[in-house]
Protein backbone atom coordinates (compact mmCIF):
# COMPACT_ATOMS: atom_id res chain seq x y z
CA UNK A 1 0.00 0.00 0.00
CA UNK A 2 1.24 3.48 -0.83
CA UNK A 3 0.75 6.27 1.70
CA UNK A 4 -2.11 7.67 -0.28
CA UNK A 5 -4.01 4.45 -0.63
CA UNK A 6 -7.38 4.05 1.08
CA UNK A 7 -9.86 1.23 1.28
CA UNK A 8 -12.87 2.21 -0.82
CA UNK A 9 -16.27 0.79 0.10
CA UNK A 10 -19.65 1.19 -1.57
CA UNK A 11 -22.58 1.30 0.85
CA UNK A 12 -26.15 1.04 -0.40
CA UNK A 13 -29.66 0.08 0.54
CA UNK A 14 -31.13 -2.22 -2.08
CA UNK A 15 -34.54 -2.50 -3.76
CA UNK A 16 -37.71 -1.15 -2.20
CA UNK A 17 -36.10 -0.58 1.15
CA UNK A 18 -36.07 2.86 2.71
CA UNK A 19 -34.27 2.06 5.96
CA UNK A 20 -31.21 4.26 5.67
CA UNK A 21 -30.18 4.64 9.31
CA UNK A 22 -28.05 1.50 9.40
CA UNK A 23 -26.37 2.27 6.10
CA UNK A 24 -25.56 5.82 7.17
CA UNK A 25 -24.28 4.71 10.54
CA UNK A 26 -22.02 2.09 8.99
CA UNK A 27 -20.79 4.66 6.43
CA UNK A 28 -19.83 6.90 9.30
CA UNK A 29 -18.10 4.06 11.16
CA UNK A 30 -16.07 3.19 8.07
CA UNK A 31 -15.13 6.81 7.45
CA UNK A 32 -13.96 7.09 11.05
CA UNK A 33 -11.85 3.99 10.43
CA UNK A 34 -10.09 5.85 7.60
CA UNK A 35 -11.97 4.37 4.67
CA UNK A 36 -13.54 6.13 1.70
CA UNK A 37 -17.23 5.37 1.47
CA UNK A 38 -19.26 5.90 -1.67
CA UNK A 39 -22.75 6.18 -0.24
CA UNK A 40 -25.56 5.55 -2.71
CA UNK A 41 -28.58 5.91 -0.43
CA UNK A 42 -31.88 4.05 -0.67
CA UNK A 43 -33.94 2.40 -3.45
CA UNK A 44 -30.95 1.22 -5.48
CA UNK A 45 -31.41 -1.57 -7.99
CA UNK A 46 -28.70 -4.23 -8.44
CA UNK A 47 -27.86 -2.63 -11.82
CA UNK A 48 -27.35 0.79 -10.25
CA UNK A 49 -25.12 -0.69 -7.56
CA UNK A 50 -22.98 -2.65 -10.02
CA UNK A 51 -22.59 0.36 -12.31
CA UNK A 52 -21.51 2.54 -9.41
CA UNK A 53 -19.11 -0.15 -8.18
CA UNK A 54 -17.49 -0.26 -11.62
CA UNK A 55 -17.24 3.50 -12.06
CA UNK A 56 -15.94 4.02 -8.53
CA UNK A 57 -13.62 1.00 -8.61
CA UNK A 58 -14.45 -0.01 -5.03
CA UNK A 59 -12.86 -2.80 -3.00
CA UNK A 60 -15.98 -3.96 -1.17
CA UNK A 61 -19.76 -3.61 -1.56
CA UNK A 62 -21.84 -3.29 1.61
CA UNK A 63 -25.59 -3.83 1.43
CA UNK A 64 -27.93 -2.83 4.20
CA UNK A 65 -31.08 -4.94 4.25
CA UNK A 66 -34.13 -4.49 6.44
CA UNK A 67 -36.97 -5.30 4.08
CA UNK A 68 -36.73 -9.04 3.46
CA UNK A 69 -36.01 -8.46 -0.21
CA UNK A 70 -33.19 -10.96 -0.40
CA UNK A 71 -33.84 -11.84 -4.03
CA UNK A 72 -32.44 -8.40 -4.86
CA UNK A 73 -29.17 -9.40 -3.23
CA UNK A 74 -29.21 -12.64 -5.22
CA UNK A 75 -29.65 -10.60 -8.41
CA UNK A 76 -26.77 -8.37 -7.35
CA UNK A 77 -24.46 -11.37 -6.90
CA UNK A 78 -25.50 -12.74 -10.32
CA UNK A 79 -24.90 -9.40 -11.95
CA UNK A 80 -21.46 -9.04 -10.38
CA UNK A 81 -20.55 -12.49 -11.71
CA UNK A 82 -21.83 -11.54 -15.13
CA UNK A 83 -19.54 -8.51 -15.07
CA UNK A 84 -16.53 -10.55 -13.92
CA UNK A 85 -16.54 -8.77 -10.62
CA UNK A 86 -16.41 -11.80 -8.35
CA UNK A 87 -13.32 -10.26 -6.80
CA UNK A 88 -15.43 -7.54 -5.19
CA UNK A 89 -16.80 -9.09 -2.00
CA UNK A 90 -20.36 -8.31 -0.94
CA UNK A 91 -21.11 -7.95 2.75
CA UNK A 92 -24.58 -7.49 4.19
CA UNK A 93 -25.90 -6.06 7.39
CA UNK A 94 -29.32 -5.73 8.94
CA UNK A 95 -32.24 -7.77 10.17
CA UNK A 96 -31.60 -10.89 8.11
CA UNK A 97 -33.01 -14.11 9.64
CA UNK A 98 -30.57 -16.98 10.02
CA UNK A 99 -32.09 -19.26 7.38
CA UNK A 100 -31.97 -16.44 4.79
CA UNK A 101 -28.46 -15.55 5.83
CA UNK A 102 -27.34 -19.10 5.15
CA UNK A 103 -28.85 -19.04 1.68
CA UNK A 104 -27.18 -15.72 0.93
CA UNK A 105 -23.80 -17.01 2.03
CA UNK A 106 -24.26 -20.03 -0.21
CA UNK A 107 -25.15 -17.66 -3.05
CA UNK A 108 -21.83 -15.86 -2.64
CA UNK A 109 -22.27 -13.12 -0.05
CA UNK A 110 -18.98 -13.10 1.79
CA UNK A 111 -20.21 -12.08 5.24
CA UNK A 112 -23.39 -11.06 7.04
CA UNK A 113 -23.40 -8.79 10.05
CA UNK A 114 -26.52 -9.32 12.14
CA UNK A 115 -27.93 -6.70 14.53
CA UNK A 116 -25.67 -6.17 17.56
CA UNK A 117 -22.54 -6.53 15.43
CA UNK A 118 -19.80 -4.28 16.75
CA UNK A 119 -18.19 -1.51 14.72
CA UNK A 120 -14.83 -3.16 15.26
CA UNK A 121 -15.96 -6.46 13.80
CA UNK A 122 -17.16 -4.76 10.60
CA UNK A 123 -14.02 -2.68 10.22
CA UNK A 124 -11.73 -5.60 10.98
CA UNK A 125 -13.49 -7.83 8.49
CA UNK A 126 -13.24 -5.29 5.67
CA UNK A 127 -9.60 -4.52 6.37
CA UNK A 128 -8.60 -8.20 6.45
CA UNK A 129 -10.63 -9.02 3.32
CA UNK A 130 -9.06 -6.21 1.32
CA UNK A 131 -5.59 -7.12 2.56
CA UNK A 132 -6.11 -10.72 1.53
CA UNK A 133 -7.08 -9.63 -1.96
CA UNK A 134 -4.02 -7.44 -2.42
Amino acid sequence: MTDRQRIKVLISVIGLDGHFTGAELVSRILMDAGMEVVYLGIYQTPEMIVNAAIQESVDVIGISSHASNYEQIHLLIDLLKKNNMNDVPVICGGAIPKQHAEVLIKKGVSKIFPPQSTSESIVEYIVSTVKEKA
Binding site: Q5, M31, E36, Q44, A52, I54, Q55
Partner: protein, 327 residues
Protein backbone atom coordinates in the same frame (compact mmCIF):
# COMPACT_ATOMS: atom_id res chain seq x y z
CA UNK B 1 0.55 -3.66 -21.26
CA UNK B 2 0.46 0.13 -21.46
CA UNK B 3 -0.63 -0.05 -25.07
CA UNK B 4 -3.57 -2.35 -24.45
CA UNK B 5 -4.76 -0.26 -21.49
CA UNK B 6 -4.61 2.89 -23.59
CA UNK B 7 -6.45 1.21 -26.45
CA UNK B 8 -9.20 0.03 -24.13
CA UNK B 9 -9.64 3.44 -22.56
CA UNK B 10 -9.78 5.18 -25.92
CA UNK B 11 -12.47 2.69 -26.92
CA UNK B 12 -14.37 3.74 -23.83
CA UNK B 13 -13.81 0.73 -21.55
CA UNK B 14 -15.37 1.92 -18.31
CA UNK B 15 -13.80 -0.66 -16.04
CA UNK B 16 -10.24 -0.12 -17.26
CA UNK B 17 -10.65 3.65 -17.03
CA UNK B 18 -12.12 3.40 -13.55
CA UNK B 19 -9.28 1.20 -12.38
CA UNK B 20 -6.70 3.57 -13.82
CA UNK B 21 -8.30 6.52 -12.03
CA UNK B 22 -8.18 4.51 -8.82
CA UNK B 23 -4.49 3.76 -9.32
CA UNK B 24 -3.76 7.40 -10.09
CA UNK B 25 -5.53 8.41 -6.90
CA UNK B 26 -3.65 5.79 -4.89
CA UNK B 27 -0.32 6.87 -6.34
CA UNK B 28 0.39 3.39 -7.72
CA UNK B 29 3.62 3.07 -9.68
CA UNK B 30 3.30 2.73 -13.42
CA UNK B 31 0.30 4.99 -13.89
CA UNK B 32 2.48 7.77 -15.19
CA UNK B 33 3.61 5.65 -18.12
CA UNK B 34 -0.03 5.06 -19.05
CA UNK B 35 -0.86 8.75 -18.71
CA UNK B 36 2.05 9.64 -20.98
CA UNK B 37 0.71 7.36 -23.69
CA UNK B 38 -2.84 8.50 -23.08
CA UNK B 39 -2.09 12.19 -23.34
CA UNK B 40 -2.15 12.39 -27.12
CA UNK B 41 -5.76 11.20 -27.03
CA UNK B 42 -6.80 14.13 -24.86
CA UNK B 43 -7.73 17.72 -25.59
CA UNK B 44 -11.18 17.18 -27.04
CA UNK B 45 -13.37 17.43 -23.96
CA UNK B 46 -14.81 20.67 -22.64
CA UNK B 47 -14.10 20.94 -18.92
CA UNK B 48 -16.56 22.74 -16.66
CA UNK B 49 -15.69 23.45 -13.03
CA UNK B 50 -18.51 23.79 -10.49
CA UNK B 51 -17.54 25.16 -7.13
CA UNK B 52 -19.10 26.74 -4.07
CA UNK B 53 -19.55 26.37 -0.33
CA UNK B 54 -20.95 23.14 1.14
CA UNK B 55 -24.71 22.89 0.88
CA UNK B 56 -25.31 25.36 -1.94
CA UNK B 57 -26.58 22.58 -4.19
CA UNK B 58 -23.60 21.88 -6.42
CA UNK B 59 -24.43 18.20 -6.90
CA UNK B 60 -28.02 19.01 -7.80
CA UNK B 61 -26.85 21.63 -10.29
CA UNK B 62 -24.48 19.09 -11.81
CA UNK B 63 -27.25 16.49 -11.95
CA UNK B 64 -29.50 18.86 -13.91
CA UNK B 65 -26.66 19.96 -16.17
CA UNK B 66 -25.95 16.34 -17.05
CA UNK B 67 -29.62 15.91 -17.80
CA UNK B 68 -29.55 18.90 -20.13
CA UNK B 69 -26.39 17.77 -21.88
CA UNK B 70 -27.74 14.25 -22.31
CA UNK B 71 -30.86 15.65 -23.93
CA UNK B 72 -28.52 16.94 -26.63
CA UNK B 73 -26.88 13.52 -26.83
CA UNK B 74 -23.60 14.75 -25.39
CA UNK B 75 -21.51 12.29 -23.39
CA UNK B 76 -20.53 13.47 -19.94
CA UNK B 77 -17.96 12.66 -17.28
CA UNK B 78 -18.42 13.89 -13.74
CA UNK B 79 -15.71 14.14 -11.10
CA UNK B 80 -17.20 14.93 -7.71
CA UNK B 81 -14.74 15.88 -5.01
CA UNK B 82 -15.64 15.66 -1.32
CA UNK B 83 -13.45 16.51 1.65
CA UNK B 84 -11.43 13.91 3.53
CA UNK B 85 -11.86 13.80 7.29
CA UNK B 86 -8.74 15.32 8.78
CA UNK B 87 -9.17 13.13 11.87
CA UNK B 88 -9.43 9.68 10.31
CA UNK B 89 -8.32 10.18 6.71
CA UNK B 90 -11.59 8.59 5.61
CA UNK B 91 -14.44 10.21 3.72
CA UNK B 92 -18.08 9.80 2.88
CA UNK B 93 -18.63 10.47 -0.80
CA UNK B 94 -22.31 11.19 -1.22
CA UNK B 95 -22.53 13.19 -4.42
CA UNK B 96 -23.89 10.26 -6.39
CA UNK B 97 -27.10 10.39 -4.35
CA UNK B 98 -28.10 13.53 -6.25
CA UNK B 99 -27.17 12.06 -9.60
CA UNK B 100 -29.02 8.76 -9.43
CA UNK B 101 -31.07 9.27 -12.55
CA UNK B 102 -27.86 8.91 -14.59
CA UNK B 103 -26.63 5.77 -12.92
CA UNK B 104 -27.79 3.46 -15.72
CA UNK B 105 -26.84 5.80 -18.57
CA UNK B 106 -23.83 4.54 -20.53
CA UNK B 107 -23.17 8.07 -21.76
CA UNK B 108 -22.41 9.27 -18.23
CA UNK B 109 -19.43 8.36 -16.10
CA UNK B 110 -19.56 9.59 -12.52
CA UNK B 111 -16.60 9.32 -10.22
CA UNK B 112 -16.27 10.45 -6.60
CA UNK B 113 -13.03 11.73 -5.19
CA UNK B 114 -11.85 12.46 -1.68
CA UNK B 115 -9.40 15.31 -1.21
CA UNK B 116 -6.99 13.05 0.73
CA UNK B 117 -4.75 16.07 1.03
CA UNK B 118 -1.26 15.82 2.49
CA UNK B 119 0.74 16.39 -0.64
CA UNK B 120 -1.57 18.75 -2.41
CA UNK B 121 -1.99 15.87 -4.80
CA UNK B 122 -5.67 16.43 -5.36
CA UNK B 123 -5.08 18.89 -8.14
CA UNK B 124 -2.74 16.45 -9.80
CA UNK B 125 -4.92 13.38 -9.56
CA UNK B 126 -8.02 15.28 -10.58
CA UNK B 127 -6.26 16.63 -13.65
CA UNK B 128 -5.09 13.16 -14.52
CA UNK B 129 -8.63 11.86 -14.06
CA UNK B 130 -9.84 14.59 -16.42
CA UNK B 131 -7.30 13.32 -18.96
CA UNK B 132 -8.61 9.77 -18.60
CA UNK B 133 -12.24 10.82 -19.14
CA UNK B 134 -11.14 13.03 -22.02
CA UNK B 135 -9.33 10.13 -23.68
CA UNK B 136 -12.43 7.99 -23.16
CA UNK B 137 -14.21 10.41 -25.46
CA UNK B 138 -16.43 12.23 -22.99
CA UNK B 139 -17.48 15.47 -24.68
CA UNK B 140 -18.09 17.35 -21.44
CA UNK B 141 -16.34 16.84 -18.14
CA UNK B 142 -17.83 18.44 -15.06
CA UNK B 143 -15.60 18.79 -12.02
CA UNK B 144 -17.42 19.53 -8.79
CA UNK B 145 -15.38 20.81 -5.84
CA UNK B 146 -16.03 22.47 -2.53
CA UNK B 147 -14.89 26.03 -3.05
CA UNK B 148 -12.41 26.39 -0.26
CA UNK B 149 -8.67 25.99 -0.34
CA UNK B 150 -5.94 26.37 -2.90
CA UNK B 151 -6.42 22.95 -4.46
CA UNK B 152 -9.97 23.76 -5.42
CA UNK B 153 -8.97 27.10 -6.88
CA UNK B 154 -6.29 25.38 -8.92
CA UNK B 155 -8.80 22.88 -10.25
CA UNK B 156 -11.15 25.69 -11.13
CA UNK B 157 -8.33 27.33 -13.03
CA UNK B 158 -7.79 24.32 -15.21
CA UNK B 159 -11.46 24.18 -16.24
CA UNK B 160 -12.47 25.88 -19.48
CA UNK B 161 -15.47 27.44 -17.78
CA UNK B 162 -15.78 27.82 -14.03
CA UNK B 163 -19.21 28.23 -12.45
CA UNK B 164 -19.44 29.49 -8.89
CA UNK B 165 -22.61 28.53 -7.07
CA UNK B 166 -23.90 30.62 -4.18
CA UNK B 167 -27.22 30.78 -2.33
CA UNK B 168 -29.18 33.79 -1.07
CA UNK B 169 -28.79 34.97 2.47
CA UNK B 170 -25.27 33.81 3.03
CA UNK B 171 -23.46 37.11 2.89
CA UNK B 172 -20.57 35.80 4.89
CA UNK B 173 -19.85 32.97 2.60
CA UNK B 174 -19.59 35.30 -0.34
CA UNK B 175 -17.04 37.18 1.72
CA UNK B 176 -15.10 33.97 2.15
CA UNK B 177 -15.32 33.15 -1.52
CA UNK B 178 -14.17 36.50 -2.78
CA UNK B 179 -10.76 36.05 -1.21
CA UNK B 180 -9.64 33.69 -3.90
CA UNK B 181 -12.02 31.60 -5.85
CA UNK B 182 -14.19 34.57 -6.69
CA UNK B 183 -11.65 35.79 -9.21
CA UNK B 184 -11.73 32.59 -11.20
CA UNK B 185 -15.50 32.57 -11.72
CA UNK B 186 -16.65 32.83 -15.34
CA UNK B 187 -20.31 32.42 -14.42
CA UNK B 188 -22.08 32.97 -11.12
CA UNK B 189 -25.16 30.98 -10.28
CA UNK B 190 -27.46 31.94 -7.43
CA UNK B 191 -29.10 28.64 -6.62
CA UNK B 192 -32.22 28.25 -4.44
CA UNK B 193 -33.22 31.62 -5.83
CA UNK B 194 -36.80 31.22 -4.58
CA UNK B 195 -35.45 32.13 -1.18
CA UNK B 196 -35.70 35.69 0.09
CA UNK B 197 -32.72 37.95 -0.52
CA UNK B 198 -31.89 36.46 -3.91
CA UNK B 199 -31.93 39.97 -5.42
CA UNK B 200 -29.74 41.30 -2.65
CA UNK B 201 -27.25 38.51 -3.27
CA UNK B 202 -27.27 39.43 -6.94
CA UNK B 203 -26.43 43.04 -6.24
CA UNK B 204 -23.74 42.01 -3.74
CA UNK B 205 -22.18 39.80 -6.36
CA UNK B 206 -22.50 42.50 -8.99
CA UNK B 207 -20.58 44.88 -6.75
CA UNK B 208 -17.80 42.38 -6.32
CA UNK B 209 -17.53 41.56 -9.97
CA UNK B 210 -17.12 45.29 -10.57
CA UNK B 211 -13.68 45.01 -9.00
CA UNK B 212 -12.37 42.53 -11.51
CA UNK B 213 -14.46 43.72 -14.44
CA UNK B 214 -11.54 45.43 -16.10
CA UNK B 215 -9.61 42.22 -16.37
CA UNK B 216 -12.62 40.38 -17.70
CA UNK B 217 -13.35 43.04 -20.27
CA UNK B 218 -9.92 42.58 -21.74
CA UNK B 219 -10.76 38.92 -22.21
CA UNK B 220 -14.02 39.77 -23.89
CA UNK B 221 -16.20 38.15 -21.28
CA UNK B 222 -18.20 39.65 -18.48
CA UNK B 223 -19.27 37.03 -15.93
CA UNK B 224 -23.05 36.83 -15.87
CA UNK B 225 -25.03 36.28 -12.69
CA UNK B 226 -27.78 33.72 -13.14
CA UNK B 227 -30.65 32.63 -10.96
CA UNK B 228 -31.60 28.98 -10.56
CA UNK B 229 -33.64 26.48 -8.61
CA UNK B 230 -31.70 23.40 -9.54
CA UNK B 231 -33.95 21.05 -7.64
CA UNK B 232 -36.85 22.11 -9.90
CA UNK B 233 -34.63 22.25 -12.99
CA UNK B 234 -35.18 26.00 -13.25
CA UNK B 235 -32.41 28.15 -14.71
CA UNK B 236 -30.27 25.21 -15.79
CA UNK B 237 -30.81 25.48 -19.54
CA UNK B 238 -29.88 29.17 -19.21
CA UNK B 239 -26.73 28.08 -17.41
CA UNK B 240 -25.84 25.67 -20.20
CA UNK B 241 -26.49 28.43 -22.75
CA UNK B 242 -24.13 30.78 -20.92
CA UNK B 243 -21.47 28.08 -20.76
CA UNK B 244 -21.80 27.66 -24.53
CA UNK B 245 -21.51 31.44 -24.96
CA UNK B 246 -18.41 31.49 -22.81
CA UNK B 247 -16.97 28.68 -24.87
CA UNK B 248 -17.60 30.66 -28.05
CA UNK B 249 -16.14 33.83 -26.56
CA UNK B 250 -12.95 31.95 -25.77
CA UNK B 251 -12.76 30.75 -29.34
CA UNK B 252 -13.33 34.26 -30.63
CA UNK B 253 -10.31 35.63 -28.86
CA UNK B 254 -7.36 36.71 -30.95
CA UNK B 255 -4.76 34.09 -31.81
CA UNK B 256 -2.30 35.85 -29.57
CA UNK B 257 -4.46 35.78 -26.52
CA UNK B 258 -5.44 32.19 -27.12
CA UNK B 259 -1.79 31.22 -27.18
CA UNK B 260 -1.11 33.39 -24.15
CA UNK B 261 -3.96 31.65 -22.38
CA UNK B 262 -2.73 28.22 -23.33
CA UNK B 263 0.78 29.07 -22.21
CA UNK B 264 -0.42 30.29 -18.84
CA UNK B 265 -2.41 27.11 -18.29
CA UNK B 266 0.41 24.85 -19.47
CA UNK B 267 2.79 26.69 -17.20
CA UNK B 268 0.67 26.44 -14.10
CA UNK B 269 -0.14 22.79 -14.78
CA UNK B 270 3.49 21.88 -15.33
CA UNK B 271 4.57 23.72 -12.19
CA UNK B 272 1.84 21.93 -10.24
CA UNK B 273 2.97 18.61 -11.57
CA UNK B 274 6.59 19.27 -10.70
CA UNK B 275 5.63 20.59 -7.29
CA UNK B 276 3.47 17.68 -6.28
CA UNK B 277 6.03 15.16 -7.41
CA UNK B 278 8.89 16.98 -5.77
CA UNK B 279 7.05 17.28 -2.50
CA UNK B 280 5.83 13.72 -2.54
CA UNK B 281 9.13 12.15 -3.47
CA UNK B 282 11.24 14.38 -1.26
CA UNK B 283 8.91 13.83 1.70
CA UNK B 284 8.90 10.07 1.18
CA UNK B 285 12.67 10.08 0.87
CA UNK B 286 13.15 12.05 4.07
CA UNK B 287 10.42 10.59 6.28
CA UNK B 288 11.36 7.00 5.43
CA UNK B 289 15.01 7.49 6.38
CA UNK B 290 16.28 6.31 9.78
CA UNK B 291 17.66 9.82 10.35
CA UNK B 292 14.14 11.18 10.40
CA UNK B 293 13.19 9.00 13.35
CA UNK B 294 16.45 9.91 15.11
CA UNK B 295 15.71 13.60 14.72
CA UNK B 296 12.17 13.08 15.97
CA UNK B 297 13.52 11.40 19.10
CA UNK B 298 15.97 14.26 19.60
CA UNK B 299 13.14 16.80 19.42
CA UNK B 300 11.16 14.85 22.02
CA UNK B 301 14.26 14.53 24.22
CA UNK B 302 14.82 18.24 23.99
CA UNK B 303 18.33 17.77 22.60
CA UNK B 304 17.44 19.32 19.27
CA UNK B 305 15.08 22.09 18.20
CA UNK B 306 12.80 21.43 15.20
CA UNK B 307 14.29 24.33 13.23
CA UNK B 308 17.76 22.84 13.28
CA UNK B 309 16.35 19.39 12.68
CA UNK B 310 14.63 20.67 9.55
CA UNK B 311 17.78 22.42 8.31
CA UNK B 312 19.98 19.43 8.92
CA UNK B 313 17.60 16.91 7.43
CA UNK B 314 17.14 18.99 4.31
CA UNK B 315 20.82 19.61 3.76
CA UNK B 316 21.66 15.97 4.39
CA UNK B 317 18.96 14.60 2.13
CA UNK B 318 18.53 17.24 -0.52
CA UNK B 319 21.95 18.42 -1.46
CA UNK B 320 20.91 21.07 -3.87
CA UNK B 321 19.12 22.98 -1.16
CA UNK B 322 22.36 23.54 0.72
CA UNK B 323 23.71 25.87 -1.91
CA UNK B 324 20.80 28.15 -1.51
CA UNK B 325 21.15 28.28 2.26
CA UNK B 326 24.84 29.04 2.26
CA UNK B 327 25.10 31.06 -0.86
Amino acid sequence: MVKSIVEKIVKGDVRVAAKLIRDIDDGVHGTREILKALYRHTGNAYVIGITGAPGVGKSTVVDQMVRGLRKNMKTVGVLAVDPTSSLSGGAILGDRIRMQRHSLDDGVFIRSFATRGQFGGLTQSTRSAIDVLDAMGKEYIIVETVGVGQDEIDIAKSAHTTVIVVVPGMGDHIQAIKAGIFEVGDIFLINKSDRPDAEKTRSDLQAMIEITRKRFKKEGWEPPILMAEAVNNKGISELLDEIEKHRKSRKALSRESIIRHKKAIARSELIDMIRSRLVEEALNHITNSPDFKKYLDCIIDGTKDPYSACDELLSAKLHFLEDENTG
